[in-house]
């Protein structure tokens, strides 16, 4: 099986290449079909890996040597273990579903081939990122998905603000990329290797705390930027300018989870620095609460989901931070299913309401679109973590509960639980406003099977996939954590009365949230809703402050350097001095004809020869 691993990222990349070279000779429709086939084939290969090595995967495929100078050895080599297998299953399969969904969703729009090119490239990049066996190849995947995110957010490039949003996304995430590059430099300078397993072995053998601390902070910055965590989350709400399918794939299911994946993958580095994990947990818990609080006041359907993504990613970071990376990964899987579903559903809603994103002007859609309503509701259930019948209950609530029992985790637990209440509020507020209440008819829209199948599959997964791992003390299968245990270890689990208390607390939080959401939707229809709280609506004004400070300073610095240093310093003073020194004032410049050059050339050569001979003669 090993020798076929390269096909998993290779096939979508091949699709992108074919599209780039031969795209213009085929109709967009055919290109779309071809593009969707590639992740499907990748999924088949991933499926084959599951079938043959699913129980205990440990596969390796060295394709070629990328760079090798001294100890700096980086290959294009793929490695598949449990964590990677989960990640590539999501990237390939959810990627395929979204390609499928796009066939109808984007047909007739401009730039379809371009769209499929970047979509294929993205899936390939994401698969490389997760399958890489060294930091440099990971970096390649990391940047590739960043590029695709840029290009796809700016897909409808004819509007200035879309292009700007794409650029903002790329620039903010590149802050993280720079940090990641620096972290790689530090780790390489300290441990002379880029490959994971020798690196972890070296870290365990001789932990250099200062280097690891700095590297750890830098890696965390990288993860925070990519996964849109506070305070570098500001790009994600704006990136909703892209097509909804893009939001579903990149800004929900896959790319934004790369930061979580990075933290899980480099867990030994964080674990080697005391206190580092707790900081990750705090960052996650705070972001979860912060973004959820912003989510309850949004009126743009996609922005609600964007803040929800930021918040849910916070829960994943919390999972990693409290020493339960396998639960974080579990929530990553669950979230990929329900958030992709919600974004695609939102895309249909937006088409129905004729590109209007404002949920206050929607309502009663359940009669017109029963299939959409039920699948969307499944996603909402999962988002709010409705007890027992939603997947999130088994992943997110498990993270919150575990936070309570780890040392120093009480604060994190309070933040996370409060976040859970807000989560239920914004999830159901969204649902009530769009699908319930008085009917506000939009245009009629008929979803074809290409749209219904992905929604259906993801809806089933949003409800059922949590049953892989029942909470401790419950009857039912407990497959997930033991399967991951060889790689990630077993997280601590609450027992006894504490366990019961925590589960009740989690469920009550959700139910309270739903009740508030019902009222909030009513208030919103009456025009006095949560969206009027400017502090929350503007996401604590954070984005504005950021934009007021950093870009102007950057541009001003560029201007100052240009005016003061380059124009005045170098051009005027230095060059002017040189000219005066050689007696080449403006007169020579003005009077000089075409012979100027030849005169200086001959003068120069003559001067050099004379100088040479003088030096030669004198010194000998």
């Amino acid at each position: 099986m090993s020798e076929w691993l390269f096909l998993i990222p290779g096939l979508p990349l091949l699709g992108a290449l074919l599209n780039a070279v031969f795209g213009e000779y085929f109709s967009p429709r055919k290109i779309g079909r071809m593009a969707a086939t590639m992740p499907f084939l990748s999924t088949l290969v991933v499926f084959a890996v599951w079938m043959t090595h699913g129980r205990d995967p440990n596969l390796h495929d060295q394709v070629w040597t990328w760079m090798a100078v001294g100890h700096f050895q980086a290959s294009v080599a793929f490695h598949v273990d449990q964590v990677t297998l989960v990640m590539i299953s999501i990237a390939a399969f959810v990627g395929f579903l979204i390609h499928l969904f796009s066939q109808q969703y984007l047909s007739g729009d401009y730039g379809e081939r371009r769209y499929y090119f970047y979509l294929n490239l993205f899936v390939g990049g994401m698969l490389i990122l997760t399958m890489a066996d060294n930091l440099l190849l990971l970096y390649l995947g990391w940047e590739t998905v960043g590029l695709c995110s840029y290009a796809l957010v700016a897909h409808w490039y004819r509007k200035q603000e879309n292009a700007w949003a794409g650029r903002k996304a790329f620039v903010v995430t590149r802050i993280g990329d720079t940090a990641l590059a620096l972290a790689i430099f530090i780790l390489f300078a300290e441990y002379h290797t880029l490959n994971y397993s020798p690196l972890f072995a070296a870290v365990a053998a001789s932990p250099d705390h200062l280097a690891l601390l700095i590297a750890g902070i830098l890696i965390l910055i990288a993860a925070v930027a990519k996964s849109a965590q506070f305070p570098l989350h500001i790009w994600l709400p704006d990136s909703m300018a892209g097509p909804s399918t893009v939001s579903a794939l990149i800004h929900a299911a896959t790319m934004v989870t790369a930061g979580v994946y990075l933290c899980i993958r480099l867990y030994p580095i964080f674990a080697a620095v005391p206190g580092m994990l707790w900081v990750i947990g705090l960052s996650g818990a705070f972001t979860a609460l912060y973004a959820a609080s912003c989510g309850i006041a949004q009126v743009d359907i996609k922005r609600v989901l964007a803040y929800s993504t930021i918040s849910q990613l916070g829960y994943m970071f919390l999972g990693v931070g409290i020493g339960a990376p396998s639960l974080g990964l579990f929530h990553l899987l669950v979230h990929a299913c329900f958030k992709a579903l919600l974004f695609m559903g939102a895309g249909v809603v937006i088409i129905i309401y004729n590109e209007n994103h404002d949920i206050r002007q929607m309502g009663g859609l359940k009669k017109q679109q029963p299939f959409l309503r039920w699948t969307f509701l499944a996603g909402i259930f999962a988002l709010a973590a409705v007890p027992v019948i939603s997947a999130s209950f088994y992943s997110k609530d498990a993270i919150i509960a575990t936070a309570f029992i780890v040392p120093g985790g009480k604060l994190l637990w309070v933040l996370a639980l409060l976040g859970a209440v807000f989560t239920a509020i914004y999830a159901f507020r969204l649902y009530f406003l769009v699908f319930e209440g008085p009917e506000k008819p939009g245009e009629s829209y008929q979803m074809g099977w290409g749209m219904k199948v992905p929604l259906g599959i993801l809806a089933v997964a949003s409800i059922g996939i949590g049953w892989l791992q029942f909470p401790p003390g419950w009857p039912g299968p407990k497959i997930w954590l033991p399967w991951l245990a060889p790689e990630l270890g077993m997280p601590p689990a609450p027992t006894g009365n504490v366990n019961i208390f925590l589960q009740v607390a989690g469920s009550v939080a959700t139910l309270i949230g739903i009740a508030i959401a019902y009222k909030a939707a009513q208030w919103e229809r009456e025009g006095r809703g949560l969206s009027r709280i400017a502090f929350l609506f503007n996401a604590w004004f954070f984005d504005r402050i950021f934009l007021r400070i950093f870009p102007p300073v950057w541009y001003a610095l560029a201007r100052v350097l240009d005016r003061l240093l380059e124009q005045t310093g170098f051009q005027l003073l230095l060059l002017g001095g040189l000219k005066d020194g050689f007696g080449l004032g403006s007169k020579v410049l003005e009077s000089g004809e075409d012979g100027l050059l030849s005169r200086y050339a001959s003068g120069m050569i003559l001067g050099l020869v004379v100088l040479l001979f003088v030096a030669w003669g004198y010194l000998l």
Partner: protein
């Protein structure tokens, strides 16, 4: 020996012939360019082609002036240069000033081949001067025909070269006094014993002469006006190939002659390179038009080359040379895009651009491609060079290298902003109604450069593994003894 001599002299003869003709002579120039490409390919890949190739022109006290030596680094750079001649000529194909541009490019090419195969430092120096003169001629006779820019270019090189010459003559005389052998061969001069105090001054002189061509901050100032005023097709060659001469001179002549001083200079070089990288990035952000933008981007990258080079560390110097080659290809792509746009009557001022992707999607796609390569996207040409340079320099001087790493961030800012101004957003209403997208020939040209970019990015090992010993063993031993490590 004969092959290399032909390689050097053929373009000069062709330039002479061309200047005597009345017609533009595209076909002749292109034929010569392709012959040169073939010759460099033979020299690079033929077995037993490395090593000293023969002596000639023995002059008492100067050594064999026409002593040729083929090393892996020199022949690889020669190959890059040979690829860029036809590319540059092709971009200039329809220009009215084709003949003067081709003349300048051919003379520069001959001089560059001389530089890459020279073993005698004086011969290197003479070729280096010819290169500078031809460069000034290019700036003077093509594009805006700006006399001030050409003069500025000449002044910078002239002053730098003088310092280089003085330093060289001092080394030469010292060597003569020590051994009694007066010879400008690098093999001889590399063994000169020079006191540390004097060595650093001599090295500074050499840096002034060679780094001005790279251009290293703060000797960079000619670059923006030079690239910005020459025809973009000429800038393809000027920024891609001609700048390699300075770096090659440093690696092949200056550092082996004064290894101890080079080692002492390392921190200064790294810091200057780091400052220059960021400086170029900021000025690119503030550039008034597309030409200047491409010029500053090139300056920024070349300072990163300098950073890796001066670090004198295994990864850094490999990365530096690789970036030098990659920069040649990518910069050719960037100036090629500018050239195509100017051939459509677009001046490149930001105010006249916007939403161009709608009219010229192929051009837009290739522009994005080269922009991405320029900002160091992994998988494309610049990345291995940038990353290795920085990773290596980081082991010598972490803070300065970290500062230069911010160039990763700055790169995305200025490249994407420029792309947005040119290609995205609503269609600028001052644009002409019909705008021709890439024609077949241009499209092919971009494919050649694009495939090269992609190949360099995906399989850098093909180049890296052949660079072998970049510095002479003599100085390498000293440098490794100095603790810069592998």
């Amino acid at each position: 020996m004969i092959l290399v001599t032909v390689l050097i002299l053929l373009p000069w003869c062709a330039a002479l012939w061309l200047s005597a003709q009345k017609q533009a002579g595209q076909r002749l120039a292109m034929t010569i360019a392709l012959i040169e490409l073939l010759l460099t390919l033979i020299l690079r890949f033929a077995p037993d082609s490395m090593g000293t190739l023969g002596h000639g022109l023995h002059i008492p006290y100067l050594g064999g002036l026409w002593t040729l030596h083929a090393g892996p680094l020199g022949s690889t750079l020669a190959l890059l240069c040979a690829i860029l001649i036809p590319v540059s000529l092709a971009f200039a194909w329809r220009l009215p000033e084709f003949r003067s541009l081709a003349n300048a490019v051919l003379v520069m090419a001959g001089a560059l081949f001389g530089i890459f195969y020279a073993q005698n430092v004086l011969m290197f120096y003479i070729f280096y001067e010819i290169l500078a003169l031809a460069g000034a001629f290019l700036i003077l006779r093509s594009g805006h025909k700006n006399r001030a820019a050409a003069l500025q270019f000449l002044l910078y090189t002239f002053v730098g070269s003088l310092l280089f010459l003085v330093a060289l003559v001092v080394v030469y005389v010292l060597h003569g006094q020590q051994t009694g052998v007066y010879d400008f061969s690098i093999l001889q001069l590399a063994d000169t014993r020079i006191s540390a105090g004097l060595g650093i001054w001599l090295f500074l002189g050499m840096v002034a002469g060679l780094a001005v061509k790279m251009p290293l901050f703060p000797l960079h100032s000619w670059a923006a006006s030079g690239y910005g005023h020459a025809a973009p097709a000429g800038s393809v060659f000027l920024s891609g190939a001609a700048v390699t001469a300075g770096a090659y001179g440093l690696i092949h002549f200056a550092i082996p002659m004064l290894p101890q001083a080079a080692l002492e200079f390392a921190p200064v070089g790294i810091i200057l390179g780091a400052i220059g990288t960021l400086y170029g990035a900021f000025l690119a952000l503030n550039a008034a038009n597309l030409r200047l933008f491409a010029a500053w981007a090139s300056v920024s990258h070349m300072n990163l080359v300098a950073l890796g080079l001066f670090a004198l560390q295994s990864q850094a110097i490999h990365g530096s040379v690789f970036l030098l080659i990659a920069h040649g290809v990518v910069s050719a792509g960037l100036f090629g895009v500018v050239s195509v746009m100017e051939s459509r009557g677009l001046t490149g001022e930001w105010a006249g651009l916007g939403g161009l992707f709608r009219r010229a999607p192929r051009l837009g796609a290739w522009m994005l491609f080269f922009f991405l390569a320029g900002m160091g996207l992994p998988g494309l040409a610049n990345f291995p060079g940038e990353f290795l340079s920085l990773a290596g320099a980081f082991r010598i001087l972490p803070l300065a290298a970290a500062l230069a790493t911010l160039g990763i961030l700055a790169g995305v800012v200025y490249f994407l902003r420029a792309y947005e101004r040119i290609m995205l957003g609503p269609l600028n209403h001052t644009l002409p109604e019909t705008l021709q997208d890439l024609q077949r020939g241009e499209w092919l040209l971009f494919w050649v450069l694009g495939l090269l970019t992609l190949w360099l990015g995906l399989d850098p090992q093909a180049i890296l593994s052949h660079l072998g010993i970049l510095l002479s063993t003599h100085s390498m031993a000293l440098i490794q003894g100095g603790g810069h490590g592998v």
